[in-house]
Symmetry: C2
């Protein structure tokens, strides 16, 4: 294994009726909270009231920043930062899915920086401080509640970029499976694909010595395969929602990537798709992953893909190549069974920008992403084309 | 799943040549460190010098508390606490195995309490503060480097008791696989059994809804089964030592027990054995576990034991009862293959105290330990007898 640091101090409150415990943690972080929200469903569902009432009972003043987009935009973060300054906000409390949490992270860092927030995303300005974050997650998808990552879009530059800072790792996160009961079939499927993609970005490597981490990754994948369909068919199934929600955190909080090189190749490719076409992130990942695996299936990688087929889908085959291909096909069929459209055309993407997006996807890594296999713009374009 | 809180803020530095990074973390915690040591092997092996030199380079003064026993005793903790007061120690730095770390935890808590340290262990006095701990682990066994637990023996009362406090969760722990290369075959085997026992104490439950956690537990068990024999046969095998060391932390830091009831039945039984006979903890656990499983194999539990047989040992059987028994036999054979003596007589235990120890083992839980199945003193005595 490679040397690594693992440090995830986020306190997780998991389960039902923990609003009061959550509010007591927020009270220790600040007297005025910025409540960051998406389109308003958390208000209709009563989640907002449950949280905000508990905060008010703790004597915390709340300020609202609503309307964060599914692919959160830089201007939305700027609006939140202005509110922080106007209202002397001391703690950021996003209530929603990964988009809301990701935007809240940039608000937290941007509020403590003189730099333009987009420069923080680009890495042009260092992040040296941030307001504390206390999150309430309502969708199992991005794992943002227990990780230091955030993805922000800039429509002006057609960029959707990830950035990270340990300073925006949430101090406390409240995970209530019941808050995810109302996630619709589409987002349950896309979220399941997102969790699986995070797991596979760590899992697929040519290193074979992180046996423990790879075994944990397989357990996360099997959890998604077992419970994704159940949650979609039976949205209030507590066991399914709870397992997906907890798997969500562990897919991306760093554990399964410890001791391994990380490239996140599929995310780099998908961010271009959702920057250009505003598609659902998890759907983009589901479409690309099987084509990515097939594109890079060769003598160096086939053993790992075959292991994936066996351990995740229970596929037994004598020939490694056959087992690997069966695993890729099973993955594709699984996503399709969740009613995920499995071609780019089905989500409205045609040839127009493929070459441009392919070039952009590897631009930040000097033209080559060194992941499962080195991936150039030519590889990305070929993968896009095979996914059309 | 049951509601839970998961909060493990320990920073893990994992890998080689990280003494300087470790020392910089210690410097942030205090200017004078109490170095807690066992029998002196870390000095012979150069580990002590590597750590202490790095601490001195950071301007940290060090005070030594050596000679902690394999089953650490209350008087040893008291000696450490006296040193803390005499020397104005600000941070506790154990270098050694779980015994050294466990003793260091009581020193850390005892130094900040007016109460008699044994009252902290008994739970008669609350723990409200502790000095910070920065640990260097040299044996993969107890997981003490990333958990809030400690076990202390009192020879006067023939008690060996576990206690916990989030205040003694290490702030930082340095896990270097090379520091475990010199662990001998006996302790490599006993440590592997200890990791597996921690995992099984969480894994064996009649609850079936914590699928993710149980899958992770199986990954930890498979890691031990794969690498325990390799590490024993080839002590400097980096891959084996690294996987065992990282598995060690995750077996007991709380993750695999989240959302599940916890009883730790086998530990309760084993603590009596090592309190009365001073045997190696992991060996006691290995001896008792198969007999515990067999004693409680019934219609309510057989499904879980059969799943264990399949997922951990790859045993396929039509009949659940047959599969479960084959799994128990495979576990026993695995421990025996590591040259662990698998009967109580082989480690010098006869009938003399069985009834007394059985009574003691359940005394703290009001006569019944409600774990995999409710366990009374009669059950414990029967398990001891079958393990003779």
């Amino acid at each position: 294994m490679e040397n690594f640091i693992f440090h995830v101090p986020t306190e997780i409150l998991f389960g039902h009726d923990l609003e009061k415990a959550f509010a007591s943690r927020v009270a220790a972080l600040g007297k005025c909270a910025l409540i960051v929200l998406g389109g308003g469903s958390v208000k209709r569902l009563g989640i907002y009231d449950a949280i905000v009432d508990a905060l008010h009972e703790q004597g915390i003043r709340t300020v609202e920043c609503a309307g964060i987009s599914p692919n959160p935009r830089i201007d939305e973060a700027k609006r939140g930062i202005s509110l922080v300054h106007q209202e002397n906000v001391e703690v950021i409390v996003p209530i929603g899915g990964g988009s809301v949490l990701d935007c809240a992270k940039l608000i937290a860092a941007g509020a403590k920086s003189e730099a333009d927030p987009w420069d923080l995303v680009l890495g042009n300005s260092p992040i040296s401080d941030a307001l504390p974050l206390a999150t309430v997650i309502t969708v199992a998808a991005t794992g943002s509640e227990m990780d230091p990552h955030s993805v922000i879009s800039n429509p002006d530059t057609k960029q959707k970029l990830g950035w990270s800072s340990s300073l925006v790792l949430p101090r406390v996160s409240y995970l209530n499976p019941a808050f995810t009961y109302t996630v619709n079939g589409w987002h349950t499927a896309a979220g399941t694909a997102d969790i699986m993609s995070h797991t596979m970005e760590s899992y697929f490597s040519v290193e074979e010595d992180a046996y423990l981490q790879d075994g944990i990754a397989e357990a996360i994948l099997r959890t998604c395969i077992k419970y994704g369909p159940i949650a979609k068919a039976d949205p209030t199934n507590e066991e399914a929602r709870a397992n997906l929600l907890w798997a969500n955190s562990w897919a991306i909080n760093g554990l399964i990537g410890t001791g391994k090189a990380q490239a996140w190749s599929v995310h780099a490719m998908e961010h271009e798709l959702s920057a250009y076409y505003d598609i659902t992130h998890g759907v983009g990942l589901a479409i690309l992953t099987p084509h990515w695996l097939r594109h890079f299936s060769n003598s160096q990688t086939v053993g790992r893909i075959a292991r994936f087929a066996k351990e995740v889908f229970g596929i037994e085959e004598e020939m490694e190549a056959k087992q690997a291909e069966a695993g890729i096909a099973a993955l594709s069929a699984f996503f399709r069974s969740l009613d995920i459209p499995m071609t780019l055309r089905e989500v409205g993407i045609d040839e127009t920008y493929l070459a441009e997006m392919a070039k952009n996807s590897v631009a930040r890594s000097g033209g080559v992403i060194n992941g499962f296999q080195p991936m150039t713009a030519e590889d990305v374009e070929a993968i896009y084309r095979s996914a059309l």
